[in-house]
Amino acid sequence: MLEIRGLTRRFGGLTAVDTVDLDVAEHEFVSIIGPNGAGKTTLFNLVTGLDDADAGTVRLEGRDVSGLTPEKLAALGVARTFQHGRVFANLSVLDNILVGAHVRFKSVRPAWSGPLSLLEPFAELALALIRPGKVKAEEAQMREEALAILGRFGGRLLPRRDNPAYSLSYANRRRVEIGRALALGPRLLMLDEPTAGMNQTETAEMQQLIGDLKKTGLTIVLIEHKLDMVMQLSDRVVVMDEGHVIASGKPAEVRNDPKVIEAYLGHHRAERAPVEEAAE
């Protein structure tokens, strides 16, 4: 499904992502772990088009998508969440989810080819103002689906659906982000530390939700520091350090890989190695 070959990104003298190869099969759940600054988020940015690689290719379902804009990648079914949370602060919770579904609005966003495509925005404007039955039905259906997505988060978001996102707690904002990503109807879901800043209960709840998503057969790439969760959810774990992939395999294999232990210990001498912690 996703094939990354020789992907490289340099910032000045620093090579944040260094000739990374990575494959994700359809329906697979792959986690990327590694110390801070290992290049995980940069890799996400490269795959989702927010940053341009200096070298290497990314293929999605066999198609070369290197250098495509984030807009095009979204239309191809790549959805992501952001490490530090990027909800639309002044939009209501429900509107945030509906923006996630933007690429699926077809009736109101006519797609024409050739020179006619210049007229698309005018058609979109006219349809938004006139709102023929088809457009109304589409909006209503998307709303239904958005409410169903909110329902997945139990009582966390549904009662707050009309509240602006800035008024939510940090954990709820992360939930809105995941809901927004689901609304895109993703072929590939990329989650960047979805449980960052959450307490244990919230983390467990999130793990449950992501586990449910996995069961639906969705292809998921997860960046996460909480290794308990990684080990339980992942089909495969990829370990990055200083821009390189240093290990890759089933959770049990990676857990005992000396290189991985060294990477963690080498960077966090003062702390207990999280890999060991997870292994206990």
Binding site: E71, R80, F82, N90, V99, L125
Partner: protein
């Protein structure tokens, strides 16, 4: 002046004067990431302080300069105290808007004290000119060059060898780190504002002596020139600002030599837009350099908008429609007609600056495009007035969007500056494109309003017409905001990166919002031209752009009802209380300043 040497000397001298302004702007941007729009006011105050000293105290040149520096520095401290310090932690655009407010207040105070008429500021130096090749250099030229060099030298010494200078450089590099290392950032800001304003004030004095002419309206152009020079050299880059200033001076001087005086500013602004769009880090930044901090320019204060039920709005519209029957007084009607016309402008800007987050500072240009289009279509082509107004709206939508489109990639301050420059360019093109626009003479004999062949020749009919247009466009805008487009536009404003990641093509939706907004502004300008029957390139001046922004912030960004309420309050109320025109601008400045500080979400809240 005839020789190239003369033009070169003139360019370098003007460049020196710009450099005194631009260096200050660069210093201020360096430590506070603020483009100080009150800088031109400091320059004007400097010029007038020099004028007072020379005229009434008969001071010799060195003393005059000292007086001007002190006055400028004190003023700089005041600007820092009211424009910057209280707004720390606010949206990045807030201090910028505050300095616009301060500049309105200062300029207007100068105008109230000294009257708007120009004054002579004689140079105390003998008019000696030295022959250099085929040209000449005057004594004042040498003095200006000397002051420029001396200031640069002093500044270099200060930044390089004094403790406060180190603190300034440290703060410019990393404000938070400097603060944690014990640098008193407020003291640095004060020092920088004082130095920058001292230099800016001297610049005003020198310009006054160079042309032997000062007037209060020099302020705005001075700010713009300083900003142009600074952007060309790289924002916040002090040596770059000096080079940019000299370059700007030379480009202007040669431009005048080749095309004539009225093109002078056109070159400056075209240069600015080109640099902004193609080299946003300035001409001298290496490509690998990280761009200046991306400033999300949206002025969005989180707030829940006050919900006004549709029935209440419909009721208010009905009451407004009944006014001519209840109070048929022409003064009341004309005041309200004016309010409705500004409300149209407010609708336009609240969509563009509020809903989609493009804080335009050149909105008056859309009025001008609309006004001229409608007037010229009606006069030259005999188009019926109703159709001309509609066409003018469409022309404004098209031209406005096409002109601003290249700037859509800019963010925050940069987009605002680009729109400001584009606004000036439109006004200068109108001035210079004589065969079409009749240049400085303006367009007269514009037919009065009529619809389907029926003359709207009473105040009452004009009132209903403008109110009707406003009601229709406001209703359409409500419908737009309620559709998926409202959602998408607000998402673009709140977080453009996340919006792109969800498939939203930014250019397309920014253009869409800009086109819809420009239509309303174009219609407003068109109706205005038919009511006035005469317009020229100054009818829709840059002050209107700022008034429009104040209306929008007062009502609440993106808030349709707010735009109408803001317009009635800011345009209608002063008229009802018969506030004299010169105090009005003062009020607009104060309102803007207070709003930014105390109620950034406006009266009705951000939508």
């Amino acid at each position: 002046m005839s020789s190239w040497i003369d033009y070169t000397v003139n360019g370098i001298i003007i460049g020196n004067i710009y450099a005194l302004l631009a260096v200050g702007l660069a210093l201020i941007f360096g430590v506070s990431r603020l483009i100080n729009f009150a800088h031109g006011s400091v320059y004007v105050v400097g010029a007038y302080a020099g004028f007072l000293a020379v005229t009434y105290l008969d001071t010799p040149l060195p003393v005059t300069i000292a007086v001007v520096v002190v006055v400028g520095a004190l003023l700089g401290l005041v600007i820092e105290r009211f424009g910057l310090r209280p707004l720390q932690g606010y949206a990045h655009i807030a201090p910028l808007l505050a300095t616009i407010g301060i500049s309105f207040v200062l300029d207007q105070l100068v105008q109230l004290f000294f009257k708007p008429d120009p004054r002579a500021l004689p140079s105390p130096l003998l008019d000696i000119r030295f022959k250099v090749g085929s040209g000449t250099i005057g004594a004042l030229d040498l003095v200006i060059a000397g002051i420029g060099l001396a200031s640069a030298g002093l500044l270099y010494y200060f930044l390089r060898f004094t403790r406060l200078g180190w603190a300034v450089r440290a703060t410019a590099q990393d404000r938070d780190a400097a603060q944690q290392m014990g640098v008193d950032v407020n003291a640095v800001n004060r020092a920088v504002f004082a130095i920058a304003s001292g230099l800016g004030a001297v610049s005003g004095l020198l310009v006054g002596m160079y042309y032997n002419y000062i007037d209060p309206s020099m302020s705005f152009q001075a700010t713009l020139k300083g900003v142009v020079a600074q952007v060309v050299g790289g924002v916040g880059n002090v040596p770059g600002a000096i080079v940019g200033s000299l370059l700007l001076g030379l480009v202007e001087s040669y431009g005048i030599a080749l095309f004539g005086t009225s093109y002078r500013n056109l070159f400056a602004f075209v240069l600015l837009v080109i640099v902004l769009v193609w080299r946003p880090n300035g001409l001298f930044a290496s490509k690998r350099q990280t761009p200046p901090e991306p400033m999300t320019g949206t002025f969005i204060a989180p707030s829940k908008p006050i919900q006004i039920p549709g029935k209440v709005l419909a009721g208010a519209a009905a009451v407004a429609a009944l006014v001519p029957l209840v109070f048929p007084h022409p003064y009341v009607l004309q005041t309200l007609i004016n309010s409705w016309l500004y409300a149209l402008l407010g609708l336009s800007l609240t969509l563009i600056a509020g809903t989609v987050g493009l804080v335009s500072l050149g909105h008056a240009a859309l009025l001008a495009i609309g006004g001229y289009s409608s007037a010229l279509l009606a006069i030259n082509c005999g188009v019926p007035v109703g159709l001309a107004i509609l066409s003018a709206g469409l022309i404004a939508a098209f031209l406005g969007t096409v002109l601003v489109f290249p700037s859509f990639r800019l963010r925050g301050h940069y987009l605002s500056i680009a729109t400001l420059a584009i606004g000036e360019i439109v006004s200068l093109v109108i001035l210079n494109w004589e065969w079409l626009t009749r240049g400085p003479i303006g367009v007269s004999g514009i037919p009065s309003l009529s619809l389907f062949g029926i003359e709207l020749d009473t105040d009452r009919s004009v009132y209903w017409f403008t109110l009707g247009v406003l009601a229709v466009l406001a209703a359409l805008q409500f419908r737009l905001l309620g559709s998926h487009l409202g959602r998408v536009l607000r998402a673009v404003r709140d977080d453009d990166v996340a919006a792109r990641s969800y498939g939203i093509r930014l250019d397309r939706y920014k253009a869409l919002a800009f086109a819809v907004g420009s239509f309303a502004a174009g219609v407003s300008g068109a109706i205005t031209s038919h009511i006035y029957s005469y317009i020229n390139h100054e009818t829709f001046n840059a002050q209107l752009s700022i008034l429009a922004l104040t209306i929008v912030i007062l009502g609440g960004m993106g808030n349709v009802t707010g735009a109408i309420v803001g317009s009635v309050l800011l345009v209608g109320l002063p008229e009802v209380f018969r506030v004299a025109a010169e105090y009005r601008v003062l009020i607009y400045g104060l309102v803007l300043l207070l709003l930014v500080r105390f109620r950034p979400q406006g009266l009705l809240g951000t939508v």
